[in-house]
């Protein structure tokens, strides 16, 4: 029989450990404990595909709450029910700052009875095979296809790097790839772009030159730019970026989690 997979995360490690132990011992669920870091969550959730995520909040700030927004992207891959364990203060902060749309709150001290009740409800749907749409609609848009996907333009003279960027991002974003600054401006004149990933070192028109041209044009000045840079010129790039003030930079080659986390930082 398939077991319900539950991922437990959050800053409150004591409660997270407690919940993990109870779930594994009392209910024989498949329980995964995961750090509350954005990149770790992003790497673990799509890989493990848990049906339920329990977040144990503790002394949260606006920034730490935003960390969990990455789950919105992960939820596009399949049904997830989100349960947040919090005191009243963290609960208010969470509601105020989260980008997530629907979740169940469980007050502290945790009532295991209530938690098991909710999990049994989820498990029943899961075992009956009616989980996907039903659970997805509990807290993310019920029709993800209708959600306007953000459009990212990647500009790099290396076709291999461009292909890898598309591989990393296509699950979550519409991605257009161009090999030069000239083509980037041609594309911008035709299509709306939400963010530009811009290679720093390119022949003819390099990254900083493209960036300056973008910022000089009121039509494109608002588009956030993340520079793509190699390790060798990282220091030089950082110096230049102090002047240019883009929205960030990513060192190439980059892992999927790093790239997506940076984009989410910028686009939300």
């Amino acid at each position: 029989m398939k077991k319900l997979k539950i991922l437990v995360t959050g800053k409150n490690r004591r409660i997270a450990t407690d919940v993990c132990n109870h779930l594994a011992e009392d209910k024989d669920y498949h329980v995964i404990k995961c750090s509350a870091k954005q990149d770790v969550l992003f790497a673990t959730v799509p890989q493990e595909r848990p049906r339920v995520i329990i977040i144990c909040l503790g002394d949260e700030t606006k920034e730490t709450i935003k960390t969990f927004d990455i789950l919105k992207e992960c939820a596009k891959l399949g049904a997830i029910t989100l349960i947040v364990v919090a005191n009243s203060e963290d609960k208010s902060l969470f509601i105020k700052y989260t980008g997530l749309e629907k979740m169940f709150f469980l007050s502290r001290p945790v009532s295991l009875y209530m938690l098991y009740d909710k999990l049994e409800e989820v498990e029943k749907k899961y075992l009956d095979g009616e989980d996907d749409d039903a659970l997805l609609s509990e807290y993310v848009n019920p029709d993800p296809d209708k959600v306007q996907r953000k459009h990212i333009l990647a500009v790099d003279d290396s076709a291999q790097q461009l292909m890898q960027i598309k591989e990393h991002l296509k699950e979550f974003y519409d991605v257009t790839l161009v090999g030069s600054g000239k083509d980037a401006f041609k594309l911008l004149s035709k299509r709306k772009v939400d963010l530009i990933l811009l290679d720093y070192m390119m022949p003819d028109m390099d990254g900083p030159e493209v960036f300056r041209k973008l910022k000089d044009d009121p039509m494109y000045a608002y588009i956030p730019v993340i520079f793509l840079t190699g390790v060798t010129e990282k220091d030089l790039v950082i110096k230049t970026l102090v002047d240019l003030k883009p929205q960030g930079y990513v060192v190439k080659p980059s892992k999927k989690s790093e790239l997506v986390a940076k984009i989410i930082d910028v686009l939300g």
């Binding site: 003279d157 790097q161 292909m163 257009t176 030069s180 083509d183 041609k186 190699g230 080659p253």
Partner: protein, 198 residues
């Protein structure tokens, strides 16, 4: 596909899989590395002969990242040293190490040849002139829209038309331009060869 022979030759497949995202994507990245070799090798050699060390540095810089992405860490270092030398105008170092780099680049490509040449896509179905004209029109639109996936798909379908040898070569160049995201260059060629479709 078994990739253990790469590890035996010092390729860090773990790093490659981490950068590309999965075993399958790593193999795809190795295939792309393999197919891009001919063009990149030609480009870097031409720039070296022209003593254009600015653009030489840019090309080896890209090759450095590409090598690292597939776990060829030693090769990546070779490119990196040449990148730094060309930036610092250490021409002597570039001259002394250019051929060593070419040899190491070739050796790695030979190593991944079994992966690069595995599962080559079958040729496209043969199409008549009317269909070819229709596809060429769609392809020009896809290129104008910067739609790389659709362009690749349509260019492949177009290769099913029995072009003469010259046009066949031209279509091959157009496909290479699409692979390198040079949409305008590809469109120019497609416009030219479209005229020969009967």
């Amino acid at each position: 596909m078994d990739i253990s022979f790469l590890e035996a030759k010092g390729i860090n497949t773990k790093v490659g899989i981490e950068f590309t995202g999965s075993n399958e994507k790593y193999i795809s990245a190795l295939k792309r590395f393999f197919t891009s070799y001919e063009d990149n090798n030609k480009k870097v050699q031409e720039l070296f002969e022209k003593r254009d060390f600015d653009n030489y540095g840019i090309v080896v810089h890209a090759l450095k990242s590409n090598s690292k992405m597939v776990g060829a860490m030693m090769l990546s270092e070779v490119f990196e040293k040449l990148e730094i030398a060309s930036k610092e105008r250490d021409i002597l170092y570039v001259k002394e190490n250019h051929n060593i780099m070419l040899a190491e680049y070739r050796d790695f490509v030979e190593l991944i040849r079994p992966i690069g040449e595995a599962d080559v896509a079958p040729p496209a179905d043969e199409i008549d002139g009317e269909k070819a004209k229709e596809i060429a029109g769609e392809l020009l639109n896809a290129l104008d829209d910067f739609d790389d996936e659709k362009s690749k798909d349509l260019a492949k379908k177009l290769s099913g038309y029995p072009f003469r040898l010259t046009q066949k070569d031209q279509l091959g160049s157009a496909i290479k331009h699409i692979d390198n995201f040079m949409y305008d260059d590809a469109a120019e060629i497609i416009k030219e060869i479209s005229k020969t479709i009967e």
